[in-house]
């Protein structure tokens, strides 16, 4: 059984005038059907307004589908009884680090989730220890969040989710407001949690280089799920991506240009190293002929 399953999910946003009459409805999600297995690292790519954040909010029942169903670990998000269990299983980290940290001290914020779940005092403390260790933030345990860098704040937010012992970590553009060093920190943390602790990660992003590290990419455009596949499969379809306003990673772009000039590159490279390897192989082949 897959951990996350969406069946024909539709979501309508209604805009109302002052008297409450609906003046316009926007379909933010159109018949989204997908399955995500436990342990996967998924990137959801899309332009602004493609519906990727709306989809993410459906996965922990912050939004409910207008039609269709979302199943998390077999539980329907529309069922009120499952609500808190679903939110505990699918933790979410948002874009702006300042607007999601509730505590005035790091440890207090990490403890917020377990406190809400009614976890006994002693266990909360051990969960906080563990969660801070997982994101490597033990040294800032007693700091005030306002003294932390953007990357550190996002790691604290991730720890806050981890303390609830989730199976799924949903990251909604967690790096959009960070500097390059902060981005690298947060991404490394997400990959580490996926690899080491087997947490299913959903990374919502519009950054191609971030998406390149995922196991699978879902591409969204104007509320539709338009592509799904491994990064290599997705980035090989550069024309389709360009058509919906997305680009491909710089390395892949370079490879395309080289191909156009008659240089054989067999495997679409996603990282600098892969491109170097491909070019070395090409140079060898040239030399041996």
């Amino acid at each position: 059984m897959s951990l996350i399953e969406t069946k024909g999910v539709q979501h309508r946003y209604a805009r109302r005038d002052e008297e409450g009459n609906i003046i316009q409805t926007t379909m933010a999600l159109q018949k989204i059907t997908c399955e995500i297995r436990a342990g996967e690292f998924i990137a959801i790519l899309g332009h602004n307004g493609s519906g990727k954040s709306t989809l993410a909010k459906h996965l922990n029942a912050l939004l409910l589908p207008s039609e269709g169903a979302v199943l998390i670990d077999g539980m329907d998000t529309r069922d009120d009884e499952n609500l808190w269990h679903i939110r505990q299983l699918a933790g979410m980290v948002f874009q702006n680090p300042d607007n999601q940290i509730i505590g005035q001290i790091v440890e207090e914020d990490v403890g917020f989730g377990p406190e809400n779940l009614g976890v006994p005092t002693g266990e909360i403390l051990s969960r906080v220890d563990e969660a801070l260790a997982k994101v490597d933030m033990q040294s800032r345990r007693y700091s005030s969040p306002s003294k932390l860098s953007g990357g550190q704040k996002q790691r604290v937010s991730i720890a806050g989710v981890l303390a609830m012992k989730p199976k799924i970590l949903i990251l909604d553009e967690p790096t959009a407001m960070l500097d390059p060093a902060g981005r690298a920190e947060v991404l490394a943390t997400a990959h580490e949690l996926n690899r080491r602790d087997g947490i299913t990660v959903l990374l919502i992003t519009h950054d191609m280089d971030e998406a390149a590290g995922a196991d699978r990419i879902l591409v969204m455009d104007r509320g539709h799920l338009v592509m799904s596949g491994t990064p290599r499969e997705i980035f090989a379809r550069s024309e389709e991506l360009t058509a919906i306003g997305l680009t491909i990673p710089t390395v892949t772009q370079i490879a395309e240009i080289l191909r156009a000039h008659g240089i054989t590159i067999v495997k679409t490279p996603l990282t600098r190293q892969e491109l170097t390897e491909a070019l070395t192989a090409y140079a060898f082949a040239l030399h041996n002929n």
């Binding site: 808190w84 509730i102 917020f112 009614g118 909360i124 403390l125 906080v128 306002s146 806050g160 609830m164």
Partner: protein, 283 residues
């Protein structure tokens, strides 16, 4: 120019002391008890007792005296007014005349006692804010007000609101700074003109600030819901308040002090009158 970020919240003075380690509930109760005692006390020995308690209370807190006195600056005017009015306007036996004003024996007595009472009150209650972090204080208040929950008073919600407000003060300050600079770069003027003009000039600062505050509030509410926040019911505490021996000792000392301040601090004859009055009323 010092950055707006450097402004400290409240006036917590971080150091190690017995008073710092006391349970915030104890500090709240002691402060209230002390204020109460200052209003009970009317005799000079009573004031000496209150002074003794204050020296003990501030001395144990290990907060430097100059920090304590800093708080006095804000109420200096009030203090002067209290002294002046009491000194000149109390009727009684005239000691000496000065132009059209006369100083009476009673006036001198009331003025000095009122001034002492005010100083004691401010210094005594500032020890609490010097030695307790704002979130500890909120915790203490939540716990002390817990019985009010039976009356459907939203104790948890108010405590949560207070701690969120405290958390967002530095963020909103920083934002104000940013918006101010952005508006100044576009020619806004926050510094010249009369008071009305200046108030009007604040509009381009306040409107974006409010919009941003509402957006933040919305984001925070979603983030809290995503982390399973559903009000105070069924919530546990990571660091619950638990009374230690020192807290019980402090309560004991407070009780002793209150009894003594009633015995020494009040005119015994007055007390007798009061008691007979109460008894007569009961009968």
């Amino acid at each position: 120019m010092a950055s707006i970020k450097d402004i400290t919240l409240g006036q917590y003075y971080p150091t190690e002391s017995v008073i710092h380690r006391l349970d915030p509930r104890v500090k709240l109760v002691v402060t209230l008890g002390y204020i109460l005692s200052l209003f009970l006390i009317t005799t000079v020995p009573g004031y000496l007792l209150a002074a003794l308690f204050l020296i003990l209370w501030t001395g144990l807190s290990r907060v430097p005296l100059r920090f304590m006195l800093r708080g006095m600056k804000a109420v200096f005017l009030l203090l002067v007014l209290t002294i002046v009015f009491n000194l000149f306007l109390t009727p009684g036996e005239v000691l000496f005349r000065f132009w059209k004003l006369s100083v009476t024996r009673e006036g001198l007595r009331t003025a000095s006692l009122m001034a002492t009472r005010l100083v004691f009150l401010i210094v005594g209650s500032s020890v609490m804010t010097f030695t307790t972090t704002p979130n500890h204080l909120t915790d203490g208040m939540e716990s002390l007000m817990h019985p009010l929950k039976r009356l459907h008073f939203p104790v948890h919600e108010i405590a949560m609101m207070m701690s969120i407000a405290l958390r967002f003060i530095p963020i909103l300050m920083e934002e104000t700074d940013k918006i101010m600079k952005a508006q100044m770069a576009r020619g806004a003027d926050f510094e010249s003109g009369g008071i009305i003009r200046r108030a009007k000039n604040l509009v381009p600062l306040l409107v974006p600030l409010f919009i941003s505050a509402f957006r933040r509030a919305n984001d925070l509410a979603i983030a809290m819901e995503a982390r399973c926040y559903r009000g105070g019911a069924g919530r546990t505490k990571m660091k619950p308040l638990i009374y230690q021996t020192r807290d019980l000792v402090a309560y004991g000392l407070l009780l002793l002090y209150l009894v003594l301040s009633v015995v020494i601090g009040r005119d015994l004859l007055h007390l007798q009158n009061l008691l007979t009055g109460v008894l007569a009323w009961r009968i």
